[in-house]
Symmetry: C2
Subunit: 456 residues, 2 copies
């Protein structure tokens, strides 16, 4: 094994190699460094097991910031800093509870989670009959039956989309806008079928927002088995009420931070390449795939480039963004600061789709740039990340893309398992595979290297 690595390293010394061959050799070095010496998995263990869930404003947010700052420094950052931003401070406030009340006084506990940013019922709770709707269209048809009731949105994740993020894009509007759409017709609360096609009953939380034109009613997600049960009972004509109690509410905004490390550019120190994920997570899990994986991959790319003695042409920024889940305040602050300082940003890449086996990258930029990205596919294919497709970016880098027209991209790992655990209790360290996580870092490092070498 060692002999082989030395051989690959020595290829660089042979003069007259084509750029393609030198790139191949350097990317092989990246892969060997990560696959042999990666710290990503153990770093993820620390983040998830000693800090855990780290929603914006929570005590764990600050612990994670300090952990990230120190780890960036240990991993070779030449300039490490905290970029301040005010973040929302939503708290769950207690255990979310829901009980279905059936005819004949029988009861069934439902496994629910209050949606992020939602207003709770308070101690008194809310008890009301439930109206089933399978879509917004059906809500319109039933709008006269909604007043004083709880609307249950039972919109299913579409299993026929092979990329599960398409199913998410299709369904997430019910989580985001369902409460206000129902409040418009006088509903007193909403229950949303979880955005998932898992085989378990874990409810999946996630951000929602209220339309200020309507009353802020409580909103919860229910697990899939309970959703199926509830839908089946209601479809069968049973009158079912649900008694809900959630204590969710906002506290005043607090200071949070993007945590940023840099490798200084040797030729263009004032031109930036950004790679990042988000440091915050939901409160109900360890935030392992979402987005602990992206965080430790980002730091692993830094560690690897440093370990290989790579001196980038451009300044590479490694950004642990604040508050992706329920506010995007970190992403906005990063873009605002870049605009204020007239920074030139070459490219921004986000890793926030889980630490699963990489399949490729999504890219949002010009046709010409996309063509260039695609020309690198053969260099990434040996490591699994060669599928380059149009579109994609990330919540945290969206603002800089908007504001500065920075081309953006995202790692696209295999998506089959992501929505089994996204925003649910089972997004824990054990759900991450060491090698899958590492291969993501390999492909990101390779792409960042290519962008640094050749621009876009």
């Amino acid at each position: 094994m060692k002999g082989k690595l030395f051989l690959i390293g020595s290829l660089f010394l042979v003069s007259g190699l084509s750029a393609q061959t030198a790139d191949e050799a350097f990317i092989r070095k990246i892969a060997d460094e990560v696959l042999i010496n990666s710290k990503a998995y153990e770093n993820l263990r620390t983040l998830t097991k000693t800090i855990g869930g780290r929603l914006a404003g929570s005590p764990q947010m600050y612990k994670a910031e300090d952990w990230g700052y120190n780890l960036l420094q240990q991993s070779g950052s030449q300039h490490t800093f905290k970029q301040e931003c005010m973040v929302p401070h939503w708290v769950r406030g207690g255990k979310d509870q829901a009980t279905a009340l059936l005819p004949g006084r029988s009861k069934k506990e439902l496994d629910i989670l209050a949606l992020g940013n939602s207003q709770g019922t308070g101690e008194k709770g809310v008890t009301a009959p439930v109206v089933l709707v399978n879509s917004f269209e059906e809500l319109e048809q039933k709008k006269d039956q909604v007043a004083g009731r709880i609307v249950f949105y039972n919109y299913h994740f579409n299993p026929t989309f092979v990329r599960t993020f398409q199913a998410y894009g299709d369904a997430v509007k019910y989580r985001g806008m369902g409460a206000s759409a129902a409040a418009k017709y006088g509903a007193v609360a909403v229950i949303i079928r979880s955005m998932s096609h898992s085989t378990d009953n874990n409810p999946h939380t996630g951000a929602m927002h209220y339309d200020s034109a309507y009353k802020k009613i409580p909103a919860v997600a229910v697990g899939l088995k309970d959703a199926d049960w509830l839908a089946s009972a209601l479809s069968g004509g049973k009158d079912i009420s649900v008694s809900l109690k959630t204590m969710a509410h906002f506290l005043p905004d607090v200071k949070g931070h993007n945590i940023i490390g840099e490798l200084k550019g040797t030729q263009f120190p004032d031109e930036y390449i950004t790679i990042g994920g988000h440091l915050d997570s939901w409160d109900v899990n360890e935030g392992a795939q979402d987005d602990g994986a992206g965080i430790v991959q980002t730091i692993e790319v830094l560690r690897t480039l440093k370990a290989l003695g790579y001196q980038p042409k451009h300044t590479i920024r490694f950004v642990l963004f604040a508050n992706e889940e329920n506010g995007t305040r970190g992403g906005n602050a990063y873009a605002d600061e870049a605009a204020k300082n007239n920074e030139k940003h070459l490219f921004a890449l986000e890793t926030d789709a889980g630490g699963f086996t990489p399949r490729g990258f999504g890219f949002t930029g010009s046709e010409e740039q996309l063509k260039k990205m695609k020309s690198w596919a053969p260099l990434l294919e040996p490591y699994g990340g060669g599928e380059i497709s149009a579109g994609g970016g990330g919540t945290d880098i969206g603002p800089i893309h908007q504001k500065l027209k920075t081309p953006m991209g995202e790692l696209l790992p295999d998506s089959q398992r992501y929505f089994d655990l996204h925003h649910a209790r089972n997004d824990v360290f054990e759900a991450v595979n060491k090698r899958e996580l590492e291969l993501g870092a390999v492909n990101i490092a390779a792409l960042i290297y290519l962008v640094d070498q050749y621009g876009l």
Copy 2:
């Protein structure tokens, strides 16, 4: 969702469609049928949870045969039969035990499993000093220190191979041939570092064989953490003995069966396409990924083609092979029977690399045939299985490839997690993801459809 499916279905009715478009549409129908209505995951639950491990010759082997036979019939097989073959009947015979004895009377239990087909120590056990070798080369260097001792092969899985099967191919000779290589120099037993790069300590069993020129000495696999501990202690110069007790032995061969279902060809009923996996598994786990996944995928392909009313041109055989793990008797019997009956076999495909997200297919045939396979890649890419590469097949279809020159192929799923659980206790139902399993079936069904339509 429904609307969309009907639209796709109706495409078939429009005249003048190109073959490519009709193929795209039919493969979309396959995918929708599997992703919406698949029985594969629940079938796997039954196989793993109600039957469990099913090594050749075990009572569970017979239960699995009956289960498979009935399920093939329920899934639409037009002709279902059992093909008899004698299978080896190796039994573990009791709990495998190993204790490291350190200087100063301290002890450490090691987590081991006897290798399949190995001869146990018997009740008396074997206790001897351990000699560490990291390779066969090192065994040669230390051959004079081996007599009367236990050889510990500490050859590592190479993490730099991106496809983990390469690391397996590189390392597996120590499991297969290590015992006889050490017995040649008088060793009394061997301990093999498990063929894995998992992060746990589960030992991984698997088949070995003895060279009849040397004494049959006991052979066990040790978990990776214990292997690291043992290697570290021995490298540090400590004298360590290990006390081994394994009760493994062979009983007389018994009757086993390949379980076979067929969809009859409408144009070429005497020309066969084979798709299969193996029904047996190791005794220490549920055989979920290896190869329960392949079995339920094979049956799912049948169910799906039947559900879509597909009438194949050629006869498609769905084969649940016997005794892949420690004898290949099923694969040999299938080839022998085909040869005896002068059967014409167009293609054989095996799925025995786990029910993980599909990435492509390996193919062994002529250049011309490989080119044809590759021309279908764009039809498979939307479902993840578009990477067509040269080489590959399967243990069970190797004999028919050898004997009848039948072109052969294999599903190549993502390989990162396979050797975390291969032949280890943790290869259980919970290690399989429903959608990943289903997407494998989609790609197999699509490829079988294309081979049936266009030949090779």
